[in-house]
Symmetry: C2
Subunit: 417 residues, 2 copies
Amino acid sequence: MKFGGTSMAGTERIRRVANIVRRQQAAGHEVAVVVSAMAGETDRLVNFCREANALYDPAEYDVVVASGEQVTAGLLALTLQAMGCKARSWLGWQLPVRTDDAHAKARIEQIDSAAVLASMAAGEVAVIPGFQGLTPDRRLTTLGRGGSDTSAVAVAAAIHADRCDIYTDVDGVYTTDPRIVAKARKLHKITYEEMLELASVGSKVLQTRSVSLAMKERVRVQVLSSFIDDGAPPADALPGTLIVAEDELEGADMERQMITGIAADKNEAKVILTRVPDRPGAVAHIFGPLAAANINVDMIIQNVGRERGETDVTFTVPHADLARTQALLEGQKEAIGFNRIISDGKVAKISVVGVGMRSHAGVAAAMFKALADRGINIQAISTSEIKVSVLIDEDETELAVRVLHTAYGLDAHDEAA
Amino acid sequence: MKFGGTSMAGTERIRRVANIVRRQQAAGHEVAVVVSAMAGETDRLVNFCREANALYDPAEYDVVVASGEQVTAGLLALTLQAMGCKARSWLGWQLPVRTDDAHAKARIEQIDSAAVLASMAAGEVAVIPGFQGLTPDRRLTTLGRGGSDTSAVAVAAAIHADRCDIYTDVDGVYTTDPRIVAKARKLHKITYEEMLELASVGSKVLQTRSVSLAMKERVRVQVLSSFIDDGAPPADALPGTLIVAEDELEGADMERQMITGIAADKNEAKVILTRVPDRPGAVAHIFGPLAAANINVDMIIQNVGRERGETDVTFTVPHADLARTQALLEGQKEAIGFNRIISDGKVAKISVVGVGMRSHAGVAAAMFKALADRGINIQAISTSEIKVSVLIDEDETELAVRVLHTAYGLDAHDEAA
């Protein structure tokens, strides 16, 4: 079980978490719990580091920020004990959670589970601070912001857990953002691949990295809310969304749609380089420097043939990297030979995702038609095996999501039905 | 060097601390620094523990409260680095600081110093969180409130430091509390024994335990202020008070007074048991149960012979233990056979302390006369080799201290002199 910062914000909420944990143990489960720092605490600690040293040493940064999860782990163990549950904390260096030495963005290499499994078998709830680990030379590391989801999945893999329940402030994964589409439906099951596509295009339920790890280690992950009523949900109910391998879908979900979900992402910016000479190597001059600068280019379209021997090249980069992208390209202007840079931050990427589209033709065509019918102009297109994305004007984001949600038959039935 | 919570309260103050550390390093010293948590932080964490579990498991309490010093250790290392000093933190479990497993009040058994000495020899400032240690089975411990002074002395002993400088919010040890006696003088040197007597009777400059440890390990401790001007005190000046073994006093301090200091302690309460049968074993029935309940009895006076075969027994206990003491004694009423319990919380213990009194008769007599001359009634007396204490009415505390400070010639010279 993993609880995020909002669920751990203060002793009252920690008591609520302890109740949820206790019910799982009472239902006969052996339980390990991974916790985040109290909401706001990591920000407070990061700010201290920035004030102390703008160019901070990530090794000492890790010493400071790892303390937030240490506090909540101890407090949850204390709270469980107050309820009569045996519990103890296992800090990252105590298990240990072995990581590489990339401070502030460490990767988990291995978790020693023998001691914690023995403790769990003896009836103790194991409480493990997320986010933290230990380098080969025994210094503290952290996994990067949001890393506690990854900690939870890694712990679940190490102890061969039946399931990794990630409690958040939403009660599952939806077909699309319920704030945009009132008729969005909660999904009972979703595949790792679909979750990855939805996460990376703007559905912020889980850290992408934790989903990749779950897929690699085949950890069954359930997303559910710690804010449902504290009353009587049976401990074994599955009220959230289960993230599983594709072979676990068969049969279990007969009414499953071809399309699983629709995501909108406003964090991309569009860049057009006009009149790029249409010769071998020109495109390499554009994207080589961007890759070297660690700028993640997403959609790429080349409009050939407007002028003879010239072409416009359109692509998207994260909004935050737009200024850096422009500066880099200006520096390469002669090497590339373009005419000018046009950029547009007011775009949105709309994606339809579903493993079902592998066996169904026409998903992309249906998308283009549905958008065209509402007069929404498509500025760029990219596709993967289980995803079709289009770039549109940011102002049309909500309209596009609603139109597609209906077009693919995702709307929840009316209550009358 | 050790810095307390007030000195570490926020990044601005930590920068001031880093400046003091940097000057010591610039003067050619190898430096290890022990730090407390930010002022108020340990209270905040203790409160979380109390809210989580009133009868908290001290092992998990330690996990929570040890985080405060972890944060300041990381921040001081970062701040030193920002000033161009090489620095790194060494957490209690990293050195490790080995303790017993008495959680929340652990005792240091041994500190591994090889790694930290190598780091210091390579020019790195070692930053070590106070207050924390590691049990034999690798769980976190803390040393009890105020334990960072003890950490500092233990580290100084382990690395064979030339000196242990403890920075506090006072600039040294005074002949008495300067808030009571304006003419109190700062002492240049004081012996461990004197410091222990002064500390245990109410001069709260250093934790008693740290002074005992310094005496045992012969660590030269200097108390000084981290709040003196940030300008230009030469790094090797000794502006504070040096606490040393008695043999280090010889010759160095010709003008040393027979009496070193005067302390007042309002935290004691007086208990009188009237008409206790004057027979063997009666007193054991009184003090046996109190000792078993861990109540620290200080002064004891038996006034024999008021009635034949009966006696009044007077003693003092810490104010906080008065109610418990009364309850315990009521429970023993038949076994002891006393008539009634009279208690008085409005008392103060005034002590004159000095190794010089070993070779000078008449110190106690001078004390009694000075107090009698001002009409101050003495309710009880106790003495040790280097201390005479009397119990008086709490309202006369300040008067008594001033009278004695003058009587023993401790007043600072007038500025005109």
